[in-house]
Symmetry: C2
Subunit: 138 residues, 2 copies
Amino acid sequence: MTTETDKTTTEETMTIREMCDLFEVTPRTLRFYESKELIFPIREGTRRHFTRRDRARLKLILRGKRFGFSLEEIRQLLDLYDMGEGKTVQLARTYELAQQHLDEMKGQREELDRAIAELETQMEWGARELEKRRSNAA
Amino acid sequence: MTTETDKTTTEETMTIREMCDLFEVTPRTLRFYESKELIFPIREGTRRHFTRRDRARLKLILRGKRFGFSLEEIRQLLDLYDMGEGKTVQLARTYELAQQHLDEMKGQREELDRAIAELETQMEWGARELEKRRSNAA
DNA sequence: AGACGAATTGACGTGAACGTAAATGAAACG
DNA sequence: CGTTTCATTTACGTTCACGTCAATTCGTCT
C-alpha cells in the first residue's frame, strides 16, 4: 500500500539558491512568480521549498517566455497542464483557451517559416556579394 | 533617359494618417519609430511624408515585433534588408548578425514544434475527458 | 480675418517583468 | 555568543514600447 499521498515520487524539495542555479534565474524572479501565483513553494517558517511541481511549472514558464507569452497567458496555460495530472476540473473552458493559443502558435509558425525563407534568400545574395568582394580584394 | 533619381517607381508619399490606417498603428507609434531611426519620413516644413521605403520598413518592423524582437534588434535586421537594395556596405558584419538571428529563429521553430506536439497530446486527453463528462451528464 | 481640423512637439504616465538596495530574521560555524 | 551567510520583506527604480494630454502651428475653407 504505497498509494497514500504518494511519497515514492522523490518529492525532494529545493532551496531558492538551488532553483536559481538550476534554471538560471534570480531569487527575485522566483518570488515574483510566486506572487503572481505561477508557482507555489512550500513555506517552512519563512523559507521557501520548491517542489517537483514547482520545477515542472518553472520549466514551462521559461519556455512560454521564450515564445513571447505574457506571464498571465502562461498562468492560463499552466492550468491546462495541471489538468493532465488528475483533477480535470473546469476542463471545457481551459480546453477552449488552449485551442486558441494553439491556433496562435500555428499561425506564428507559418509566418516564421515564410520569414526564414525570405531571410535565407536575402542571405544567399549576401554570401555571393561577399564572395565577389573577397576575390576582388585578392 | 529616365534614370536620374528615378521618379518612375511611383514614389508617392503618404501622410501620417494614411499610414496609420494602412498599418493599424497610431501616429505616436510612427513618430516613436522615427525617433528610434527605424523609419525616415521626409519633412515638408513640419509635416511628415512617408515614402515607399518607409512602408517597406514598417511592414518588416511589425513582423519583427510579432516574433518578439526588440525594436533595437529589428533596426539591425532592417539594415540587412537595405543591403539588398544596392549599397552592400559593411556586408560581412551584417551577414554574421543575420546568421545569428536565423539560427535563433530556427531553434525557436524547433521548440515551437515540440511544444505544439505536447499541447496536442494534452488536448487529446482533454477532448476525451470532455466526451466522458458529456455522456455521464446525459 | 476667423474658425476649424490635422499634424507636431514636449512632457508626463503606464503596464509588464523584473532589478536593486535597505532592513530584518533565521541559521550555521568556530 | 558573536559573526558571517543566506533568505525574506518592503519598497522604490528601471527598461521597453508606446499612451495621453496640453500647447502650438500649419493649411484650408468660408
